[in-house]
């Protein structure tokens, strides 16, 4: 059981259990001892579904990483390849199988495609003469993986690039399939809203697939009231800005991978007196971050400015709780104290960890450069000087700051100005090519193709209209880069997650729920791609009669990725007392500006 998945309005453990069952069923099909050969990319996501113990229960004795040449020796009856359906992986598998020692004990080969079987890959295996070697060739439709009580991700790294650059809709197809699986478990979603070209495609596929499956009438009472499909390219701005929530900053600075973060170990060294700081651990400290940890659940979505006070409050409560022991006089009292100890110790450990993390982050956020960068970002987002070459960016290039940082800023400026003047754009590009190397011309092309970097066409800047209509910039929130303490502790608007900027994507969701998109038709027309609404009729018996005061549940699917700050903003909306809507978030990939730009970069050597 993963308890934190069942806290939310929608019990995502149902999904987790369903995919676990499917995995067990497959493993049991291959009777006897097994070794799994992993496509390395899959191990992270699989960790969220099934720990090694589950595999072990089903006689998995060895695990290898997929690589060329001969398979490592393993005295097992079955070798199972867990792979994504990619041609290059098929070539490696074929190499493995062909170099299998014929004199050794014969082993059965199986292949499990994640998330979908592919005729193309099987054809390749056939061409390589090994298709017949596999006894079971199956697919494991692990599309949406539950990350938290309200969060699902496909963890498909290339999704944005494939969809918006390469015209490859494979991940949209998987997304549609994943949504069908969700509907099979949680009921048909009666209303679908969407904005963007990809959203339209996914909705079309869903409607089509529903027709294909008409035979199996879904008789589950619908859990979700709405589905909102959003293209990432409707809101290219948000991920480019630096996230300022606690979780967002951890991700910006250290990168969260499959809910784990690796941190520099120094701050986590056990503090022993007289130890003089020797034997510092050298291996990065790996921590799992999800709402199973009480404290983390409380602070993850807060503006970083508000985290410190929560931590110190907690520290006081915990030490007070430990002091209680002096008051415990009777045996009964002592017993009660002791029974609470494990919980208290866990809380103390968690507090210590987060205090260390907060210190690490504070080192970064209090640096002058961070402040300067934030100032520039906020100027851009509030529409100041977006149409000329920015000094800070120039200086960053001149000092050869990380290219990704520079690209994030230039793209941000371009997006906040609906494209840059040709002269400004060419200047930036030239500076970047001269400083970082001409090979980056390919990366620049990619960014242009994705619309992140573009010349302004028609000489019109639409961003101010969008900003004003959607109230993307809240001036009163802003103070010294971060929000003022009062607002960051008691935010009244989603703009607290970026200390002033309200993420466009989330604002669209908010306006959809109240008062509806009709009020912003004009802006919707400016944003790329069509907006639409579809209804999926329900049998009369399944139509919901909402109790007064009962919130609607909206599943919001970000096609092309979502940031932790956006998630925080949606959680904020869910918790609003008179919000009326609770959100469950799904995405192709959990990402931030850095990982996003990185995926779009192309290094020819």
């Amino acid at each position: 059981m993963a308890a934190h998945l069942s806290y939310g309005r929608v019990n995502l453990n149902v999904l987790r259990e369903a995919v676990r069952r499917e995995l067990r069923e497959f493993l049991d099909k291959c009777a006897g001892s097994k070794a799994i050969v992993w496509d390395e990319y899959l191990t992270g996501p699989f960790g969220l579904i099934a720990q090694y113990s589950l595999l072990k229960e089903h006689e998995v004795e060895k695990m290898f990483t997929l690589k060329g040449n001969r398979l490592p020796a393993a005295d097992v009856k079955n070798i199972i390849f867990f792979v994504r359906p990619r041609l290059e992986l098929m070539d490696i598998i074929a190499e493995n199988v062909l170099s299998e020692d014929r004199r050794g004990p014969t082993r059965d080969f199986h292949i499990l495609f994640v998330p979908r079987r592919s005729l193309l890959c099987e054809q390749r295996l056939k061409d390589l003469g090994v298709l017949g070697s596999f006894i079971h060739r199956e697919e494991y439709s692990l599309d949406l993986i539950p990350f938290d009580g309200d969060l699902l991700s496909m963890e498909s790294e290339g999704a944005f690039k494939e969809c918006y650059l390469e015209g490859d809709q494979t991940s949209l197809y998987h997304a549609a399939k994943g949504l069908m699986t969700l509907q099979a478990l949680y009921g048909t979603i009666p209303q679908i809203f969407g904005k963007g070209e990809c959203a339209r495609q996914v909705a079309n596929m869903m409607i089509r697939m529903k027709r294909e499956f008409t035979g199996s009438q879904n008789s589950i009472f619908p859990v979700f009231d709405n589905l909102l499909l959003l293209d990432r390219n409707v809101d290219l701005l948000t991920p480019l800005a630096t996230q300022l929530t606690y979780e967002g900053l951890i991700d910006e600075i250290y990168g969260i991978q499959n809910s784990y973060v690796k941190l520099p170990p120094e701050k986590f060294a056990p503090k022993k007196q007289g130890d003089g700081g020797k034997d510092l651990p050298t291996e990065a400290k790996k921590l799992q971050l999800n709402s199973a940890e009480e404290l983390y659940a409380e602070i993850r979505d807060k503006n970083f400015n508000a985290v410190g006070s929560v931590l110190s409050k907690k520290a006081k409560i915990i030490s007070a709780a430990f002091e209680e022991r002096h008051n415990a006089k009777t045996v009964g009292e002592i017993k009660q104290f002791v029974s609470q100890l494990p919980h208290m110790q866990a809380a103390r450990g968690s507090l210590a960890n987060h205090t260390s993390i907060a210190e690490l982050i504070k080192d970064v956020t209090t640096s002058e450069d961070f402040f300067d960068k934030l100032t520039v970002e906020q100027e851009f987002m509030s529409g100041i000087d977006t149409d000329k070459v920015n000094n800070y960016i120039e200086d960053c290039i001149a000092q050869k700051h990380s290219l990704i940082k520079v690209l994030r800023l230039v793209c941000l400026q371009s997006v906040c100005n609906s494209g840059l003047k040709q002269k400004v754009l060419d200047y930036y590009k030239r500076e970047i090519l001269q400083t970082y190397g001409y090979e980056h011309i390919l990366t620049l092309h990619n960014l242009e193709k994705a619309g992140l970097l573009k010349p302004q066409t028609g000489g019109r800047n639409n961003y101010p209209t969008i900003r004003k209509t959607l109230r993307l910039w809240m001036d009163d929130v802003n103070e010294q880069g971060f929000c003022s303490l009062i607002i960051s502790q008691n935010p009244t608007d989603i703009s607290y997650v970026y200390s002033g900027y309200a993420p466009l994507s989330v604002r669209l969701a908010q306006l959809l729920s109240r008062p509806g998109w009709r009020s912003i038709e004009e802006v919707l027309r400016i944003l790329p791609g069509p907006h639409f609404e579809e209804r999926q009729p329900l049998p009369t018996g399944l139509q919901k009669k909402r109790q007064p005061g009962e919130n609607r549940v909206t599943l919001i699917f970000f096609l092309g990725g979502v940031t932790f700050a956006e998630i925080a903003a949606l959680r904020f909306l869910s918790q609003l007392e008179d919000g009326g809507t609770e959100y469950v978030i799904a995405t192709t990939k959990l990402m931030n500006g850095t990982s996003w730009i990185e995926a779009l970069m192309e290094k020819p050597f």
């Binding site: 359906p85 041609l87 290059e88 979908r116 079987r117 592919s118 005729l119 193309l120 054809q123 494939e162 390469e166 015209g167 490859d168 809709q169 494979t170 949209l172 197809y173 549609a176 495609q201 079309n204 596929m205 089509r208 027709r211 294909e212 008409t214 035979g215 199996s216 009438q217 120039e394 200086d395 290039i397 001149a398 000092q399 050869k400 060419d426 590009k429 030239r430 500076e431 090519l433 001269q434 400083t435 970082y436 190397g437 001409y438 090979e439 011309i441 390919l442 092309h445 020819p604 050597f605």
Partner: protein
Amino acid sequence: MDCYTANWNPLGDSAFYRKYELYSMDWDLKEELRDCLVAAAPYGGPIGLQSAPSCWTVLCQDRVAHILLAVGPDLYLLDHAACSAVTPPGLAPGVSSFLQMAVSFTYRHLALFTDTGYIWMGTASLKEKLCEFNCNIRAPPKQMVWCSRPRSKERAVVVAWERRLMVVGDAPESIQFVLDEDSYLVPELDGVRIFSRSTHEFLHEVPAASEEIFKIASMAPGALLLEAQKEYEKESQKADEYLREIQELGQLTQAVQQCIEAAGHEHQPDMQKSLLRAASFGKCFLDRFPPDSFVHMCQDLRVLNAVRDYHIGIPLTYSQYKQLTIQVLLDRLVLRRLYPLAIQICEYLRLPEVQGVSRILAHWACYKVQQKDVSDEDVARAINQKLGDTPGVSYSDIAARAYGCGRTELAIKLLEYEPRSGEQVPLLLKMKRSKLALSKAIESGDTDLVFTVLLHLKNELNRGDFFMTLRNQPMALSLYRQFCKHQELETLKDLYNQDDNHQELGSFHIRASYAAEERIEGRVAALQTAADAFYKAKNEFAAKATEDQMRLLRLQRRLEDELGGQFLDLSLHDTVTTLILGGHNKRAEQLARDFRIPDKRLWWLKLTALADLEDWEELEKFSKSKKSPIGYLPFVEICMKQHNKYEAKKYASRVGPEQKVKALLLVGDVAQAADVAIEHRNEAELSLVLSHCTGATDGATADKIQRARAQAQKK
């Protein structure tokens, strides 16, 4: 040898056949060959003779089939490997041959009829005798079959002669019937069917429930309930008496159950009805009697009565029906093309559409497509009208059937109705409608399916046609491009060429310049091609940049030759830095000028490089060469980064007023910073300085600031 070809016989014009003797066989055969079973193996194998068995049957034990064979007085058991003689236990003596044998429906029991008119009944394993009977008829029976009922302990065998039918079992007496006509026995699960030219009958052991109820003077609860109900209909008070009697014994539930069960075993609807009425009547006096059994029995009987109707003629008993399952019954109706009845049954039983109505409609449609005299349009329309969007109907199965009958056009029309593209595509490919398959695959959004069709098309069409097809399908084209990017780079280039996509061609050659070429000339040539393509794409910027890159590459090559060291593939910026670090300032200047590096960046670059070298003298000279376009704060910062406070202070004094406080704080001169801030009367600067005041050392300064603040507030 008179004429060698004498035994040659012509067959047609060109072939002859002949036959000659191998041996003269002078056997001492007692029987004629026709009385024997003959076995001979090829390759000159031996010949085996066995006098023909008088009778034989197939036994089945533990999933292995055996043959039981009677030859004269002996019984043999054969399996795939061996033959062994067996003797049934307790077989009466004097048998000289077996005339008939019969295996029960369940393969558990075996009966043997001997020439002495004796019947042995036992287990099929031949290990146990159940009973025996002597009928004293020596004439070989026409047929002998078991008559038993599931879960009954009674065992009986029915033996038929020309005009006589005898039921024998573990009893001294037998039952005898006279047969008026030639009859034939069909063993069933729960009895024996007997049919002749004019009749069709069923012989079986009366089921327990029926026996209990209808046995004369039975006092079983079911019997009393039936009686009670009859009296009730007559409006007699006896109904109450019977009912009380049952209730006093607490057997009402049992009574109802008995009546329901007995109804199932009745063939006549009238009798079924009266039993069900009795059950219904009894139910009224029960508080909690689950209604399922009653309801299901009513439904089942309705179905059974429908198929028992002589128009349909499937005389199933209730037990047979339950064993057979409704699915199989439906299949049989479908195979006999009794579609309407099958659909009515499905609808009546409310079977899920996928298992029920849809399946039958699909079968009907498969039959329909075979009607060759109807036009394609009419068939397709008729099928769609009936099937519509009925869930679970596989139009592709129907289409496959149509294709199988050679009606390709009809198949395509039918496929139009198929909602699952995954199903449409393979059949379309099989029918060589690849282009149609392609658009169907694209519609589905399943990229794997699209790829499959694409690779199929690629083999089927010539290159030109293939490319043309792609051109009309942008999604397929971009997928194929992705495929080529990883698998067939050359084709990718051709694709871009065909589309005049010069921008992508340019990028393609840029990539190629890194991937394929080692030599500098080759790389430059590839870049030149790229630049040309960019020009064609009207992307002047990219073209110029690429030309710059070529220039830089050549230059780097020259630098490596002249100065040694590593220059290739450094960025322009890094090349200049490397030159400065190597002390080649002149060359650096020249390069910066050639490539028009903006002044500001060049200053940063030099500043960073000189600080890295810790060449403070040169740095100072540089700072004084002209007014710094980046101000002097960076100089302070970079010196402090190298921990050179002395040098830093030199520049701090030159920093402009706006950044002065910052600079002074950087070099640690808090007091002066305070003075400047106070002079500026800048609140932000004041608090910045204040935050740098540490404890004792800057106490005085802090006080000074506070005072200045207080003063400012007074004003």
